[in-house]
C-alpha cells in the first residue's frame, strides 16, 4: 500500500536546525548595526504615583549620552491590541502623568554603550507623588479603594458572562452539589531571549525595527499607531525569536523606547531588557480566584456548573480580556455540560499587567475543573476515568452558542490513559497517579485587532530549478512553524522539504499573518500555505497535462518531484523540467500563487479544537511534603500529526512549563513588588526534575485543518497542574486548591488531615 503522505507525519528536524546548532542563528540580541547606540529604560519604583516632574538635564550632560526621552516626547497614545475597542487601549508605555506598577517605564536613554546608558538612568530625577496602591482584586473592587484608571469604577476593567441551558434547574435536579474555591497563581514566561529590539529610523521617514516577537505584523501596526507613522513606513524584522510563550505579541517597552529614541536621534538604538526587567516589567500569567459550584447526578452525569472568577489584571488591560473569556469558555471543556454559567471579572491592581501566556486562561480553568471532578468522583465512588468518559465531548458536539466540535478523540485518549495506568499495577507507598483531561483551540476567531487582511496569507514562487520560495507571515519562535509550513507546502506541491526556501519574519517581504499566538499557525497559516501550494500545483499540472496528453479520465499528481499519471506512476516528467517549460511558455514569468485563510461562521472561539488526557505519577515524601515527578503519559488528539518530532518537543516542553506552574514557579509580591525577579529565586524545572514522558497520538481528521491537522503545543500546558494535584491527592490523600502546590502546603495539608503516615528515607 502506498503511503498516505510523502512528507507529512515523518519526523523532520527544524529547517533552522543547522543555524541553531552551529551558533549561526542571529537573534535580535546578537545584532549590531553601524553607528548603533544602546538604550536603557528608567522604571517606576512606586506601584502607584503621580509623576510631578522629570528632570533629564544631568543625564543628558553625561559624556556618551546621546539622548533622553520621556512621555513628553511621545504622542501620548494609549495603545493596546484592542483596536476595535478603544476603551480597552489603556497603556502609554512611557507614562506621562501617572505610574501604576513597579517597573512601568518613565524615561529612556540612548548612549554609546550600555554602561553609560545605565549610569545616566541614575541621573534622571523624577519627582513622584506616591498614591495609595491596591494589590489584590478582592480589595480593589471594594468601595473607596484607590482607583487606577479614572473611567474604571471599582477598578473593574472587563466583565464576561457566558451562559447556556438552565443552570438553576440543573442544580435542582442534582444529587450532589459541590462548591470549591481555588487560587491560581501567576507565572513568568521566562523566554531565554529577553525582550529586545534594535530600531533604526532614517531621515527618509522610514523606521526599521528588528525585534524578538511572535507577530511582526502586530508590532508594525501598533508602532504605526503610537508613532504617527504610516504602517508601511515601518518594517519589522524578526528572523529568530528566542522563545515567546505569549509574552511577545504585544508592543513592549524595548520596541517602543528604541523607536522613539531612534526617531529622535536618527541612529540605530538597541535595547535589551535585563532578566530582572523581564520579570518585573513584562507581562505574566493571570492569577485567578476561582469559585466553582457543580451539580451532578449520582451516576456521575454532569448537570450544571456555575463558575465565577476574579482575575488580577495588574495595571493595564494587555491581553487579559481574552484570558478572561477563554478561562470561562475552557472551564466547560472538554465535557458536555448541559447547563453552564460563567461570570468573570478582570480587576485592575497596582501590579505588573497580566496577559497572555501559553494556555491563555485555560490552564487555570483546567486545574480547578479537573481537581473538582476528582473530588466529585471520590464522593460518588465513581472511577475517575469513567466519570470523564461519561461526560466527554465528542465529534459533532456543539458548545451551545459558542463552538462546534468537528473532530474529537477524547474518549480514545481516556482509553489509552486508562491502559497506561493499568500497566502500572500497584504503586509504592505514598505514590500516586493523577489525571486531567483538556482541550484547546486552534487559533482564535476574534478580530479585536481590526485587521482588514486575511488572518493568514502565503505566497509561493516556483523557480526554474524546481526550488520553491515560500513566503509566510507566521513567526517561528521555537515552536517549529517554519518546519510545519515547509512540510505542508512540500506535501501539497509534491516536492521535498529540501526544495523549499522559506521566507519569514520580515513585514517588507512576507504577507500578513496575525502571528504565533492562540495556537493558530498550523491551522490558519497552514491552510493558507496549502491553498497557495495547491494553486501553484494546478498551474504546473495544467501545463504538464497539455504536454503529456493523457486520456482525459486520468489524473495527474506530483510526488517527490515527479509529475505523473496516478494510474501509471512510471509515466511522468521531472518537476523542475516541467517548471522550466512553464516559465518559458509564459514569457518568462515564474509560477506565483497565493493562499489565504480567514475563519468564517466557525462559532465564537476557534475553527477547531484539540483534545487530550494526561496522567502523571508522583511520589510524595509525607514527612517533608516534597513532590517528585516519576512518570507521565499524554494521549493527545491533534488531528493529523504534521511533524512528530515537533509535536513531541512541544509536549515535553509544555510539561516542563506547566509542571513548573503546578509546583515550583510563582511570583510572590509585596505591595506590588515582585520578590524573586531572577533565575536564582524563580524556580524552573531542570533536567533532573523532568519525568519520563510518553506520547500517545490519537489521530483524528479535522475537516477544517490542513490535511486534518489542528493545534499541538499550547493546549498541552492545560492539564499538567491539575494532573499533578490529583496525583498528590492519590498519593497522600490531600487536595491542594491553591497553586503552586508547594511542599510546604502539602506537608501542612497532610498534618491537617490526620496523623501522618511514616515513611523513612529511601
Amino acid at each position: 500500500m502506498s503511503k498516505k503522505f510523502h512528507v507529512i507525519n515523518t519526523p523532520v528536524h527544524n529547517v533552522d536546525g543547522i543555524a541553531k546548532v552551529t551558533g549561526r542563528a542571529e537573534y535580535t540580541f546578537d545584532l549590531v548595526l553601524p553607528h548603533m547606540l544602546y538604550g536603557k529604560i528608567l522604571r517606576s519604583p512606586y506601584p502607584h504615583a503621580k509623576i510631578l516632574n522629570i528632570d533629564t538635564s544631568r543625564a543628558e550632560n553625561l559624556p556618551g549620552v546621546r539622548g533622553v526621552v520621556t512621555g513628553k516626547d511621545t504622542l501620548g497614545v494609549k495603545q493596546g491590541i484592542w483596536r476595535r475597542y478603544k476603551e480597552l487601549c489603556d497603556e502609554e508605555i512611557l507614562a506621562r502623568e501617572k505610574v501604576r506598577y513597579i517597573g512601568e517605564p518613565v524615561a529612556a536613554v540612548a548612549a554609546v554603550d550600555e554602561d553609560t546608558a545605565e549610569e545616566a538612568l541614575d541621573l534622571i530625577e523624577v519627582e513622584y507623588e506616591p498614591l495609595p496602591g491596591v494589590f489584590v482584586p478582592l480589595d480593589a473592587i471594594k468601595e473607596g479603594a484607590p482607583l487606577l484608571h479614572e473611567n474604571a469604577e471599582r477598578n473593574i476593567n472587563v466583565t464576561r458572562h457566558i451562559e447556556w441551558g438552565d443552570v438553576d434547574e440543573g442544580f435542582k435536579q442534582a444529587d450532589l452539589v459541590r462548591e470549591d474555591w481555588f487560587r491560581c497563581s501567576s507565572q513568568a514566561h521566562v523566554c531565554m531571549e529577553t525582550h529586545c529590539a534594535v530600531a533604526s529610523y532614517t531621515p527618509d521617514g522610514k523606521l526599521t525595527v528588528y525585534t524578538s516577537t511572535q507577530s511582526h505584523y502586530y508590532i508594525k501596526v501598533l508602532l504605526a499607531d503610537v508613532l504617527g507613522l504610516r504602517e508601511n513606513d515601518i518594517r519589522v524584522i524578526s528572523r529568530y525569536t528566542g522563545g515567546g510563550f505569549g509574552s511577545k505579541f504585544e508592543l513592549d517597552s524595548a520596541q517602543f523606547c528604541s523607536s522613539i529614541l531612534s526617531m529622535k536621534l536618527c541612529q540605530p538604538v538597541k535595547i535589551v531588557l535585563t532578566r530582572e526587567e523581564e520579570f518585573m516589567a513584562t507581562k505574566r500569567r493571570t492569577p485567578m480566584f476561582y469559585y466553582l459550584r457543580t451539580g451532578v447526578q449520582k451516576d456521575g452525569q454532569f448537570l450544571a456548573k456555575e463558575a465565577r472568577v476574579f482575575t488580577e489584571g495588574g495595571a493595564y488591560t494587555a491581553m487579559g480580556a481574552t484570558a478572561l473569556y477563554l478561562t470561562g469558555f475552557f472551564q466547560a471543556f472538554p465535557y458536555d455540560w448541559p447547563n453552564y454559567r460563567y461570570d468573570g471579572y478582570r480587576v485592575y491592581t497596582n501590579t505588573p499587567p497580566t496577559s497572555a501566556m501559553r494556555g491563555f486562561g485555560a490552564p487555570q480553568a483546567t486545574f480547578c475543573a479537573e481537581t473538582q471532578i476528582d473530588l466529585i468522583a471520590e464522593e460518588l465512588g465513581i472511577d475517575r476515568i469513567d466519570i470523564r468518559r461519561k461526560n466527554a465531548m465528542y465529534a459533532g458536539y456543539e458548545v451551545p452558542g459558542q463552538a462546534w466540535i468537528q473532530s474529537c478523540g477524547l474518549s480514545e485518549c481516556l482509553d489509552k490513559v486508562d491502559e497506561w495506568i493499568k500497566t502500572k499495577g500497584d504503586l509504592p507507598a505514598n505514590s500516586g497517579i493523577g489525571i486531567a483531561a483538556y482541550g484547546f483551540m486552534s487559533g482564535g476567531i476574534f478580530n479585536w485587532f481590526d485587521t482588514p487582511y486575511a488572518f493568514s496569507s502565503a505566497v509561493i514562487q516556483v523557480n526554474v530549478d524546481g526550488k520553491v520560495d515560500l513566503f509566510v507571515g507566521s513567526q517561528d519562535m521555537g515552536q517549529g512553524s517554519n518546519t510545519t509550513m515547509a512540510m505542508i507546502c512540500a506535501e501539497e506541491l509534491g516536492v521535498n522539504v529540501g526544495d523549499i526556501r522559506l521566507h519569514m519574519g520580515d513585514t517588507d517581504k512576507c504577507p500578513v499573518d496575525l502571528g504565533a499566538w492562540g495556537s493558530r499557525e498550523t491551522l490558519m497559516q497552514g491552510n493558507a500555505v496549502k491553498m497557495a501550494a495547491a494553486e501553484a500545483k494546478k498551474q504546473i499540472l495544467e501545463f504538464a497535462a497539455a504536454k503529456m496528453t493523457p486520456n482525459i479520465v486520468y489524473d495527474l499528481d506530483i510526488k517527490d518531484g515527479w509529475i505523473h499519471l496516478i494510474a501509471r506512476p512510471e509515466r511522468g516528467l521531472a518537476f523542475n523540467e516541467v517548471v522550466k517549460e512553464v516559465i518559458r511558455g509564459r514569457d518568462g514569468q515564474p509560477i506565483v500563487a497565493r493562499g489565504h485563510y480567514t475563519p468564517h461562521r466557525k462559532g465564537m472561539i476557534s475553527p477547531a479544537y484539540s483534545f487530550g488526557v494526561q496522567a502523571i505519577e508522583v511520589k510524595v515524601d509525607p514527612e517533608t511534603g516534597k513532590i517528585t515527578l516519576k512518570d507521565c503519559v499524554t494521549a493527545h488528539d491533534c488531528g493529523q500529526v504534521i511533524n512528530p518530532l515537533g509535536v513531541q518537543g512541544q509536549l515535553e516542553g509544555a510539561i516542563a512549563m506547566a509542571a513548573g506552574y503546578g509546583f515550583t514557579e510563582d511570583l510572590p509580591m509585596d505591595e506590588g513588588k515582585i520578590l524573586n525577579p531572577n533565575l536564582v529565586d524563580y524556580k524552573l524545572l531542570r533536567t533532573t526534575e523532568m519525568p519520563e514522558t510518553t506520547v500517545v497520538e490519537v489521530e483524528t481528521y479535522e475537516p477544517e485543518g490542513p490535511f486534518g491537522a489542528k493545534e499541538a503545543g499550547e493546549g498541552l500546558t492545560n492539564p499538567t497542574a491539575g494532573a499533578l494535584g490529583n496525583a498528590v491527592h492519590d498519593a497522600v490523600g490531600v487536595s491542594i486548591n491553591e497553586l503552586p502546590i508547594t511542599s510546604e502546603k502539602v506537608l501542612e495539608a497532610i498534618r491537617d488531615k490526620d496523623k501522618p503516615k511514616t515513611d523513612e528515607e529511601d
Partner: protein, 162 residues
Amino acid sequence: MDKIKLRLTVNKEYLECYITPKKLLVEVLRDELGLTGTKRGCNTGSCHACTVLINGLSVKSCSVLAMQADGCEVTTVEGLADAAALSPLQKSFLDHGAYQCGFCTSGMLMAATSFLAENPRPNEQEIREGLHGNICRCTGYNSIIRAVKAVAEGKYKEAADE
C-alpha cells in the same frame, strides 16, 4: 580605565586584544570577537546559556573575568564543527529535535561536549545531572537527554571519525 592585554586561544586560533579588566569572558567573545553563538540569558549565573569550554572544561563565560582566562584555550559553539562537518552532538541534536527556539542550544551543546569528554559512557541519570545547570524553557529537556544518550551509545561514531 586603561585597557590591558588579553591573550587567548579561541577555537584553536591564538589572538590578542586589549580590554578593560572588568570585561567578562562572554563580553569579549561576543562584543570584541563577534562570536555571538554564545548567548546570555541572565545576570545571576543561573541559566548557563553562556557555557563555553576553558581548557576543555565547561564554564559559564558570564561568571569569569576575561582576564582570568588569559593564556587559556577557549572553545565556543563556533568551534564545534570542523568546517561543514558537524560534531556528533550537533548531528544528534538535529536528529532528536533537541532544540526549539535555539537560544540555549549553544550552551547546552558546550555543556554536553565537556560532559561526554569527561564521562563518555554515562547513564541517563548521569546525563541529567551533567546538564543540570542549563536552562531550556522550550523542550522540557528530554529530547536533549536522548540526543546526548545517542552519542554516548556510539550512534554518531562515524561523524566523529569523518
